[in-house]
């Protein structure tokens, strides 16, 4: 019998990717709920951002009577632009706050309810880094997927509501490039916030002694 203690191997990254992917696939319903909260939060942000973008792009091409209509329905214009008045900026910030709280909360819950699983992993010889990697990867998948769904949803709703108000000119002068940029920004934001939500509980759980993680209320 060997008397010495060796060092545990670090799992190859491909293996970690496989495990994290499987782990999401098998609890699809739960992870879709987390992803849905992410998507909704991002949809709100994307709706606000893309709404102003469409208005700005369509504005020069519509009749003055329609322009009057828009202004009288509550939109405010500063320096020939929508979305930069203090009120609008507050709305954008508010949507961002909702997004941060929504995503971080969803991820905190999702990781915290898996403390026992983390404890079990550690009993079986998982390194702390493995635990953190699994959750970071899952957070990124969910962030990207939720961000994509959410931003498309937000842009779709914004386009639809503005089209209903302004008619087809909203579609004709739809700012495609700006929309792509919005999707990219929303994706980045979703992945970042999702990571932020995952990192804290995952780090805490990974550093726990296994006995403590196993005792945690699931």
């Amino acid at each position: 019998m060997s008397q010495s203690v060796e060092r545990q191997v670090v799992l190859p990254f491909a293996q970690v990717v496989r495990i994290s992917f499987n782990s999401m696939r098998v609890r699809l319903a739960r992870s879709l709920i987390t992803t849905a909260s992410l998507a909704l939060a991002i949809a709100f942000v994307a709706y606000i951002w893309s709404g102003y973008a469409i208005l700005n792009s369509v504005w020069p091409h519509i009749d003055s009577s329609v322009q009057e209509d828009i202004l009288s329905s509550g939109y405010e214009m500063t320096d020939g632009h929508f979305g930069s008045s203090p009120k609008d900026r507050w709305l954008a910030i508010l949507s961002l706050i909702v997004c941060v709280v929504g995503i971080v909360n969803a991820q905190l819950m999702a990781v915290t309810e898996r403390f026992r699983e983390i404890g079990t992993f550690k009993c079986l010889g998982a390194l702390n880094s493995f635990v953190v990697r699994i959750f970071v990867l899952e957070g990124i998948y969910q962030g990207i997927f939720g961000g994509l769904i959410g931003s498309i949803l937000g842009i779709l709703v914004a386009t639809l509501t503005i089209t209903l108000k302004l008619g087809w000119s909203a579609i004709v002068f739809w700012p495609a490039l700006k929309m792509l940029l919005t999707i990219a920004e929303a994706l980045f934001l979703a992945a970042l916030l999702s990571l932020l939500g995952v990192m804290y509980p995952a780090l805490v759980a990974a550093r726990m002694e296994p006995a403590v993680a196993l005792r945690a209320e699931a």
Partner: protein, 244 residues
């Protein structure tokens, strides 16, 4: 401690554990000195709240003692870094819990192979060994089932197979029969005893199941965070009646 020349697979020296809950200070272990020999079947008995599970966690390097030292194969656990500690938990010790602690979203075979994946085995190796272990515990045909689709006894057998994955020198079982009915409990005990006699695995089991006493080489009675007494089986005068 009466040693008979065998090497100590686990040794505890002045181990204490204090839990702090708010302003309360609970002394779960109050200075434990003890050695466990290789190949022994040892039961830790005691009422709930006596410190059994805490002691179990100390022996298994699952928690740090407040003071004192824990040696596994004469290596001081406190001196190990994270990689060595993970290796120890992966290769040297197999854990069995009262609540099974299987990964609920993984199938039986995935649960059993997990420690081998952590150990860096390749897929062919771990699948073969995994199936062999499931056959050993009589669950080979249910390898694709997830824990919720298995009975308590079957789940515990998967957990036993998982504990054996990397052929550990020590199996630590925390009330392994606590959530099982009499017959399934007996099956698990027989399986553990078999491992101890056939494979020379050291079995350390925290329990308050009287059936466990029959198969144990030694019984350590814990009371109020201290070792109350240690009994060799041959000195035991308890006869277990036929129950159930």
């Amino acid at each position: 401690m009466e040693l008979q020349g065998d090497h100590n697979v686990v040794r505890l020296s002045e181990v204490t554990k204090v839990f702090r809950m708010g302003n309360n200070r609970v002394e779960a272990l109050k200075g434990i000195n003890f050695a466990i020999k290789a190949g022994e079947y040892l039961s830790i008995m005691g009422p709930s709240g006596s410190g059994k599970s805490t002691l179990f966690n100390m022996i298994g390097a699952l928690d740090k003692p407040t003071t004192g030292r824990v040696f596994i194969d004469e290596v001081d656990v406190a001196q190990l870094d994270a990689y060595e500690l993970a290796w120890l938990r992966c290769r040297k010790i197999g854990y069995i819990f009262q609540t099974f602690n299987l990964i609920m979203v993984m199938t039986a075979i995935e649960n059993v192979t997990l420690p081998m994946i952590f150990a860096g085995m390749n897929r062919d190796e771990y699948m073969e060994k995994g199936m062999e272990l499931l056959r050993l515990v009589g669950l080979a045909e249910r390898f694709q089932h997830k824990p919720p689709e298995l009975s308590g006894g079957q789940q515990q057998r998967v957990a036993v197979a998982r504990a054996l994955a990397n052929s550990p020198a020590i199996i630590l079982a925390d009330e392994p029969t606590g959530n099982l009915d009499l017959t399934t409990g007996e099956e698990i005990i027989t399986l553990l005893k078999h491992l101890s006699t056939e494979r020379g695995v050291t079995i350390i089991s925290a329990t308050h199941d009287i059936k466990m006493l029959n198969v144990s080489d030694r019984i350590v009675w814990i009371r109020d965070g201290r070792i109350d007494r240690v009994e060799e089986r041959r000195d035991l005068k308890i006869s277990v009646g036929e129950v159930g």
